[in-house]
Subunit: 408 residues, 2 copies
């Protein structure tokens, strides 16, 4: 049997980032930079006012106070979006609005709350030392600075920063197309009533959603009955995909049909991975397309997708980080028995006064789907004997779904 | 000045869930249930085998062992997806595959590793007590059980569970259409070189991404110069939107144009909210459409969107929970000075041996966009005096973006 690490290493070795494409920045949410994003110019572009008030020469303001105001001649104004055309001389002030460029000759702004104004003059009621209420040019970003390295996933904050620094459009990795095929005579398609002995198919809908969330584009191939012609036909529809995910039929000896097709048209290896849930796994190629064969059990399919499928998709997207974040947490509630195989235990995280606590979400058998619901982490229980007891520290993979946290 | 709570309460009072629509389950990722999801039938639908092996009557297996095997007549087989047609009698066994229905008359399965077989017979090398390797009908979900209540956001796990229990298609709230308009002569549109005194517009791209991530559909209205005709024309394009977001021009006295239009065609209130960043905020209606006027500063726009815009979108989506998760964390690194206004400090969270630690992401002035980058939380610093010191506990809103964690 392979270890989880060996299996993941062998799988990831087969994947590289896909070709880059250029997209408008506002549409790059969730995409991954295919090159370093570098500032075209400094930010702020020019020294500007942090307040509505008056741009002055700090030497003029001197030790102004409410008792001893300094009166300056009001020589003009500069709204945001404009540049004051002249040079401001000694004894002069310019009305300035937030964000407007500091006029040449001035070096400080006094906010309007600390001034009095009249016809053609303004009185300063406080000093305005050099740099007062001034946002210096380049204070946030220097021209040419690295905003985000190749491999960064773009969220709203990165998009704001790239927009502010002129990075648009943006080169990102193409989204991988992931074909999804469920196999087995026992599967009733979504929306159909199961015949006697059948169960409702759930791996297809799960994988469509999970592939989307991982950043891939799902390509739904439906369900293949256990017949060679049907399997051949469905797999033919995967042409053009970057990855084929199948579920079901990976147990020992049951994969003869797939094996036969892949022996003719590609390659296949069957692995037993030292993990629970999800022991059986197949990996190979159909033509040139990598194929990952997940177990049929819904929980096993979900966990093996997380551990092997999602990293492959992230690698193709070009993400610098293909793994889920892993953090240390404190087990609470039921103890967990170690086993010969590494276990991935569905759990929910909470923060208790700054401490990360994990509670399992219920029975962990691989056919219990309810304990996937609400799971925000997989606890990684190393191989071994004895119990991991409540109160002990364990490592957790964060599933980072819509609601990753219980409330406080 | 309003408190953050007062402002949020007044805003949220204006929003209710939008009409529901019916969508195919696999396309419901990120959507919110508009009714309770209830299991159509139990799960598993029928008692089935957890192993490849032999279905037997436990009484027949008795105290079988490798030394004293029990030989049974092999009376048939049942693959997954089929039902064994007869009733199994005393002294008989049925070959069974994982997931196949337990044949009538049997009550246990012995896995094939604990058997020997020959022509027409199987020998049991271990006992098979009643229920051995049997997944009971309804063990996971009872018929009619609540799978997920109204207001639940659907992630891949919920989609798997609903699929397995026959909930398809699914009634979810319609996505809100959110019109986004940036205002100001100083803004250079994406892709254009700023003219002297101009800055690159970043709030539009930010809000497009943030609205999408919140579950809304952005409708881009572009940039309106500070001219009444242009503003009127751009706002007319918001017809049909469920919410209008503007940014810029909310500072005292600068909003005359918008005010004039909204006084004619709707209502507007200008608020000063006791918070930093983001003090100025406008809220009103254009015709019947709510309008939220965010400040122009990129960081202020982002933080006020988080605190007021996103909850409004979540409410319209029908989400039971409209706020970001809030957790207690331990401040690390620089102390933070309390202020008269509540502060929302950009920070990055890490887990250190089970303890959640927050580090600020840099300078917190409202024009510093780089400290939005990599921020995974907003630390909530209550109004007051003195310092929140490194090592003290603070409350954090989790931004839950693509990479919410520093590694360990």
């Amino acid at each position: 049997m392979l270890s989880v690490e060996e299996a993941r290493e062998r799988i990831l070795a087969r994947f590289t980032p896909l070709a880059a494409e250029v997209v408008p920045l506002p549409d790059a949410l969730g995409r991954v930079l295919a090159e370093d994003a570098v500032a075209r110019e400094r930010l702020p572009l020019f020294a500007n006012s942090a307040m509505d008030g008056y741009a002055v020469r700090s030497a003029d303001a001197g030790a102004a106070s409410a008792e001893q105001p300094v009166r300056l001649r009001l020589a003009g104004e500069v709204p945001a979006g404009s540049v004051y055309p002249g040079t401001v001389g000694a004894g002069e002030a310019i009305r300035i609005l937030t964000g407007a460029p500091l006029p040449t000759g001035t070096d400080a702004v006094l906010q309007q709350e600390l001034t009095h104004t009249g016809e053609g003059w303004v009185e300063l009621l406080a000093p305005a030392p050099a740099g007062n209420n001034v946002r210096a040019a380049g204070e946030d970003v220097a021209a040419g600075a690295l905003l985000a390295p190749l491999g960064t996933e773009l969220g709203p904050a990165e998009i704001a920063l790239l927009a502010a620094c002129g990075v648009h459009p943006v080169r990102v990795g193409r989204r991988p197309r992931v074909a999804i095929l469920s196999t087995g005579d026992e599967l009733a398609p979504l929306g159909e009533t199961p015949k006697p002995g059948q169960i409702r198919e759930s791996n297809g809908p799960y994988l469509v959603a999970a592939v989307r969330r991982a950043g891939g584009e799902p390509l739904r191939l439906g369900i293949a009955r256990d017949r060679e012609d049907e399997l051949r036909e469905k797999l033919a529809a995967a042409r053009g995909a970057d990855l084929i995910l199948t579920s079901g039929g990976v147990s020992v000896g049951d994969y003869d049909l797939v094996k036969q097709i892949l022996d003719e048209q590609g390659t296949i290896e069957f692995w037993r991975v030292r993990m629970r849930p999800g022991k059986p796994l197949a990996f190979g190629t159909l033509g040139d397309t990598p194929l990952l064969g997940l177990p049929g059990n819904p929980v096993s399919a979900a966990v093996t997708f997380e551990l092997f499928g999602r990293p492959a998709i992230r690698r193709m997207l070009g993400a610098a980080r293909v793994e889920r974040p892993r953090v240390e947490v404190v087990l609470e509630g039921a103890d967990i028995a170690r086993a010969e195989r590494r276990q991935f235990v569905r759990a929910r995280l909470e923060s208790r006064g700054g401490t990360l606590v994990a509670l399992t979400t219920g029975a962990q058998d691989s056919h219990i789907i309810t304990s996937l619901r609400g799971a925000t982490a997989l606890l990684v229980i190393p191989e071994g004997a004895g119990l991991v007891r409540s109160g002990e520290h364990v490592s957790a993979l964060l599933l980072n779904d819509a609601l990753p946290w219980g409330g406080e």
